[in-house]
């Protein structure tokens, strides 16, 4: 056990897998000497050498496309894309090949690779550095999309992602890279992909969130408790495949669902969860399912970002509205 930030916990997961499996390699922009702009790969090149942890040329399509080549020929590449906004040059490789080679080859080739990148707002960054594109990846069949909300989860999910024989998009909520510190076991463990976690049980309203917003929800829930509202908080953990069962159980119990996420609300994880709540618990619904999400606008730069970011009071406001409906 030692106290870790999410950065450290992911670094630890990578370290463990690099150590025990010589087919694991890590590359991307500045992941070598520099250890990544957020230092997630710090120290790994020194420990495992430049053939296993290295800087690539500056080209995301190349990073992802070559990783696919490695994955079908015996390696388990983990690639870092520097920010969520720079996943798009690789979008064609992801949507046309990474997600499809297994199906195209009828299982002759598996694609055990991880594409990891920081995402989300709240760090007063430049454009393309504050976005939440999870829905875009979740809509592409053949991918798994994972988002941790704590250092503990990040380590366990990352180990599972590396060991998955299917390609995993691993999105790291950069806002809480260092904001949360937690006791994390030093040894290897993994958490199942595709399973949500009930963080807190409750009876009045189901709140579903993931990543950095779990913390904000917890603050809102504390406000709710004061107001006498019992909230069940679910951390989705995996965006695809989504854990219907956990949603079903909870919404059938509470009859109310509020989805909290930072992405643009239209055609989002929020939309999907509302659809699921309807399909799985229609007769139990006692209030309109709500989305507390980003606007359909570009995330504003630092001076305007506070309008866009989801704060606890806004979450509480929507929980209360839903509760009182």
């Amino acid at each position: 056990m030692s106290v870790m930030t999410m950065v450290k916990a992911i670094n630890n997961a990578l370290d463990i897998k690099l150590k025990e499996d010589s087919t694991v390699v890590i590359y991307g922009e500045d992941v070598g000497v520099e250890g990544g702009v957020f230092r997630v790969t710090e120290g790994l090149q020194k420990k495992y050498g430049v053939e296993r942890v290295f800087d690539s040329p500056l080209a995301e399509s190349g990073i992802v496309g070559t990783a696919l080549g490695m994955a079908v020929s015996g390696l388990r590449p983990i690639v870092e894309l520097q920010f969520e906004g720079f996943t798009f040059p690789a979008f064609n490789q992801i949507a046309s090949n990474v997600s499809r080679i297994q199906n195209r080859s009828r299982g002759k080739f598996n694609v055990p690779m991880v594409i990891r990148f920081p995402y989300g707002g709240g760090i007063n960054a430049l454009e393309h550095h504050s976005d939440s594109p999870e829905a875009l990846f979740a809509h592409i069949p053949g991918l798994k999309v994972v988002i941790p909300s704590t250092p503990y989860d990040a380590k366990g999910l990352m180990i599972a992602a590396i060991e998955s024989n299917d390609p995993v998009i691993f999105m790291e909520p950069k806002r809480i890279y260092r904001a949360i510190k937690q006791e994390v076991p030093s040894e290897k463990y993994s958490l199942p992909l595709g399973k949500a976690k009930v963080i807190q049980e409750g009876s009045d309203v189901t709140v579903v969130a993931f990543g950095a917003l779990i913390r904000e929800c917890q603050k809102a829930i504390a406000m709710g408790e004061e107001a006498g509202i019992s909230v069940e908080l679910i951390d989705l953990r995996t965006i695809y495949p989504i854990d219907r069962e956990t949603i079903r159980k909870s919404v059938r119990k509470t009859g109310r669902i509020v989805v909290v996420a930072e992405a643009h609300e239209s055609f989002s994880v929020g939309s999907e969860l509302i659809a699921i709540a309807n399909e799985e618990a229609f007769l139990y619904l006692e209030a309109p399912p709500r989305r507390v999400m980003g606007f359909d606008t570009i995330v504003p730069l630092a001076q305007g970002e506070h309008y866009f970011i989801i704060h606890p009071d806004r979450i509480f406001y929507e929980i209360e509205k839903t509760f009182k409906f």
Binding site: S61, G62, T66, S73, N92, S96, S105, R106
Partner: protein, 369 residues
């Protein structure tokens, strides 16, 4: 240009001087004896047979499509010398990362015509090339495959394997960003990849002069610091020498190579395409004179080694290919499970649910009849 250990042909046929490696002319006459590879007759005969096989299979595929027995097909006509010369240098353990117009090379790797037919009949089982070792499926999204080849090259180098990687792209494909990125990565990583541009002069209707202002396509290698050469793609011997040299270079750890195979698509882009819309009959006729089979045959005849009974062989091949087509046609059925089974190594609950719901509908449909 950069490397000291560069084989002589890369210097003698420097693409910066717009030179092209060509060894025999249209009449099968040797024009460049210095570089003519000394192949024993059996190999030359074998090459001709393979080219003939590809041509016949290709013609038959076009005709099955015309009969409405197969969906849109992509002909290979005129590009056989490239495919067979490459095939002769790709060993069992070497990797083939195809584009979509190198059937002869796929066949050399162990792909069967039954599989090709099955693919064009609309069944992924055909296109998966189950029995061809180290062979990727066809790449439809143009350019993307070059990155896969470069990545495999890294993997091979990292695991210290005696394996080379062969990959293909068209002249049009060189305009895609992925082409440049992949060659650049390969240069930096010094991986054993042989890149071939099949410059067949057109990307569907667009001529290569509308594709780029570079003096030829081989010269693009300069931008990535890798050796490049322009080769007469309709000259079997030139292509043979190019692949022999490139494979040796790559396997010796000297890094990637770019080959521009200068050729012509004698047929249509696909069976849905009508070339008369965008090119002249005269142009096609002129290129027809450089037909790789004709050239090789003339060479062999001159040398007195054309011992093949072409008519008989053609009949044999036709019969065998017909058998494969019928087999594919008989086995084209698509079990429902195939839609879902290969999306993930473990089927997620979401897919199980979708499958189950659809089955409910199928039951309803069944009962309604």
């Amino acid at each position: 240009m950069i490397q000291e250990n560069l084989p002589a042909i890369f210097r003698d046929f420097n693409p910066l001087e717009n030179k092209m490696l060509s060894l025999i002319d249209n009449d099968g006459e040797v024009v460049n004896p210095k570089y003519m590879p000394s192949l024993n007759d059996a190999i030359v005969i074998e090459a001709y047979k393979q080219m003939l096989y590809e041509r016949i299979a290709d013609e038959m595929a076009v005709s099955y499509q015309r009969q409405g027995r197969m969906y849109t097909y992509t002909p290979n006509l005129g590009q056989e010398a490239i495919h067979i010369a490459a095939g002769m240098h790709i060993r069992e353990q070497d990797w083939l990362v195809p584009a979509f117009r190198e059937m002869g090379t796929l066949l050399a790797k162990g792909v069967t015509m039954k599989e090709m037919f099955l693919f064009y009949l609309g069944n992924e089982r055909g296109g998966s090339f189950q029995n061809a070792n180290h062979t990727l499926p066809i790449a439809i999204s143009i350019g993307t495959q070059l990155h896969h080849a470069t990545g495999i090259g890294y993997s091979v180098k990292y695991r210290k394997k005696d394996e080379a990687v062969f990959t293909f792209i068209g002249d049009g494909g060189t305009s895609e960003g992925d082409f440049s990125e992949a060659l650049n990565f390969a240069g930096v990583w010094q991986v054993p990849v042989v890149f071939t541009i099949q410059n067949n002069q057109y990307a569907i209707s667009v001529p290569v002069r509308s594709q780029t202002k570079s003096i030829n396509l081989a010269v693009k290698s300069v931008a990535f610091g890798i050796p490049g050469i322009k080769v007469d793609g309709n000259d079997f011997f030139a292509m043979y020498l190019a692949y022999q040299t490139a494979a040796a270079h790559a396997l010796a750890g000297n890094g990637p190579v770019l080959i521009e195979a200068f050729t012509y698509r004698l047929g249509a882009h696909t069976t849905s395409d009508d070339p008369s819309k965008y090119r002249k009959k005269e142009e096609e006729n002129e290129w027809g004179l450089t037909d790789p089979l004709l050239r090789l045959k003339r060479y062999m005849e001159k040398k007195g080694i054309f011992t093949i009974d072409e008519k008989k062989l053609t009949e044999e091949y036709k019969k065998e290919i017909t058998g494969q087509f019928l087999d594919a046609e008989k086995n084209k059925a698509y079990p429902y499970d195939d839609v879902f089974d290969h999306m993930y190594t473990d089927m997620p609950d979401e897919l199980k649910r979708q499958k189950a719901e659809y089955e409910e509908f199928l039951n309803w449909k069944e009962n309604r009849r």
